[in-house]
């Protein structure tokens, strides 16, 4: 990377860049910033400058040329299918981005880019250098934080939790759909700036086509970026999200009994789901009150998948799940209230169906 350059006409002499420079490489001369040789190209000043007076030469992110990138931390290729689709539509390449040479994905991309450091500053510098048209990632906490910070440094739009993504023909842009108001509504938006940074939910993650990467991984020459240090370690504890945040809810009625709830917990752990219950199941003491699915609590839930085991479907229960994207009723009979308003109905021995789910 080269040193930032000063666009003298735009510099208003505010001194914001001078204050943030960790290397004391900037000073104001006649109310215009100057950069000394001690500059280590960390880029902090570029993002601090609200006047746009500090830029990297020849790095216009609106001229996207480097194809579609997808983040593949740990070799994970979940977003590869969507990146490939978009790259094919734009006639460009799909590249996997990793932060460590030891975690290379084995398929799904034309090339693999290694960005040492793996923080937002390093990713932003790599994007400025290579100019991809879009950077995609699966919608996870870590990727969301990383792309949001990268978007802020680049002053470009970021879309999180995207459920659908389509190219805009004639433009290197995309139209995305994302949920708002706890998933009750959606908004369809088009990015006007490039590159497009987005994290993708399940609906927007297309199947990955098996294809071998044809080139050796390319390690981008990005100097170690100065970035606030945060030490982290896993505590080994797991957290079950509240029902409002849950993406998949498995819910039981009193008929499945205590053993049924134990089995349900095992299935939920396997599916990454949250366990809940009907009002009757909570009243029977199988679950704490905060796990109750009933409109009388004043709460309604909007998971992408709700599977009810042995729940007949009282009006209160059914009202609480009207926002669920897909409802599955598992029962020993097909004439329940819930079955009348479910997407899929499975009838038979509930325990045997749970056990079959556990084996899947």
């Amino acid at each position: 990377m080269s040193m930032p350059i000063v666009v003298k006409d735009k510099c208003n002499g505010c001194g914001d860049c001078v204050v943030v420079c960790p290397f004391f490489a900037l000073e104001l001369v006649d109310n215009v910033v100057t950069i000394a040789e001690s500059c280590l190209d960390c880029g902090v000043c570029v993002s601090a400058c609200s006047a746009g007076a500090l830029v990297y030469e020849g790095m216009d992110v609106t001229q996207s040329g480097g194809g579609v990138w997808y983040l593949a931390p740990g070799g994970d290729i979940e977003a590869a299918g969507t990146a490939r689709y978009l790259a094919d539509e734009w006639g460009k390449s799909a590249a996997a981005v990793v932060f460590n040479e030891n975690t290379l994905p084995d398929s799904g991309s034309d090339l693999v880019l290694v960005i040492p450091g793996g923080n937002a500053r390093a990713l932003a510098a790599a994007i400025q250098h290579e100019k991809p048209g879009a950077v995609l990632a699966p919608d996870r906490d870590q990727t969301r934080d990383l792309l949001a910070q990268t978007a802020a440094l680049l002053n470009v739009n970021f879309f999180s939790g995207v459920t659908s993504l389509q190219p805009v023909y004639g433009k290197d842009s995309v139209e995305v759909v994302r949920p708002i108001f706890l998933g009750r509504y959606y908004v369809r938006v088009q990015a006007q700036s490039a590159p497009v940074l987005a994290t993708l939910q399940k609906g927007a993650l297309l199947p990955v086509r098996a294809m071998a990467t044809t080139q050796a991984p390319r390690i981008l020459d990005i100097k170690p970026a100065v970035w606030p240090e945060v030490t982290r370690q896993e505590s080994g504890r797991y957290y079950m999200p509240g029902l409002e945040e849950a993406d998949i809810i498995l819910s039981g009625g009193p008929a499945i009994g205590r053993e049924g709830f134990e089995l349900l917990n095992a299935v939920a752990q396997r599916m990454g789901a949250v366990v809940a219950g009907s009002k009757e199941a909570v009243q029977a003491g199988f679950l704490p009150p905060e796990r109750m699915v009933d409109a009388s609590t004043g709460k309604r839930f909007a998971p992408s998948l709700y599977i009810a085991f042995g729940i007949d479907g009282s009006p209160g229960h059914n009202a609480a799940i009207t926002l669920a994207r897909t409802v599955v009723a598992v029962s020993d009979r097909a004439d329940t209230n819930l079955a009348a308003s479910a997407d899929f109905i499975l009838t038979g021995d509930i325990r045997a169906i749970m056990e079959a789910m556990l084996l899947e």
Partner: protein, 249 residues
Amino acid sequence: MKVCVCIKPAWEVFDTYFSSSRGEIDTSAATRQLPVAERLGIDLASQMSPDEIVAVSWTDAADESVLRQAAAVGATRLVRIESESPHAYTMDPLVVSRVLAELLKSIGPEMVFFGHRSPEGGSGAVGPMVAAMLGYALLPRCVRLSRDGDLVTFSCLEDGREISGSARLPVVVTVHPAAGSPKSPSPLGIRRAIKAPLEVVRIDAQRSEVDIRATGTNEWKGRARQVLEGSPAQMVQMLKAQLRERGAI
């Protein structure tokens, strides 16, 4: 030490409805509240022994009561940002972050608290964006926090796992609702909040580059009611295939 808590007043989501004739979300029957995560943010901020807790919000004068709610639970200074406000639910996190970062630069806090994500936009991007713009360390989705001098120790949630760690001030903290139950305001706090002075700061927002094409509702319109038949294993196989096709798993 100066601490800021950034507040996004949140609509009571289930009091809103989609007006198909106007093609927009009707919030006329809904009220705006101080969200739980922001209330927990004020509680955590109070535990950091700050000299001042500044509650900051970019909101209309009509929603000023939300800032007063913040004063009732511990904020000692209230600042309302006045700007050309985009439509509430189209809020662009980049635009919001720029405006907040500009104000925060002038206040100069050592800790900035945000709610993890708002019920409306739900992008969870403003806290991380502001951290990047200010060059502060980001401690996302915190459930526990303590401070010893300029060393902040935290526990946070990440995709269902608990992570613990530390960072040096200055930091941006986003607070997860699992951080606990927020404190209720005391009668004294409520009296103080009613009389608290409220500063209004005008900041010009940059124009959003997000072009809203349409909004719609995900409300249930009728289900497929497809009966899957066979042995338990066969039914589960069929269900799995259907759910995959719908993008539900």
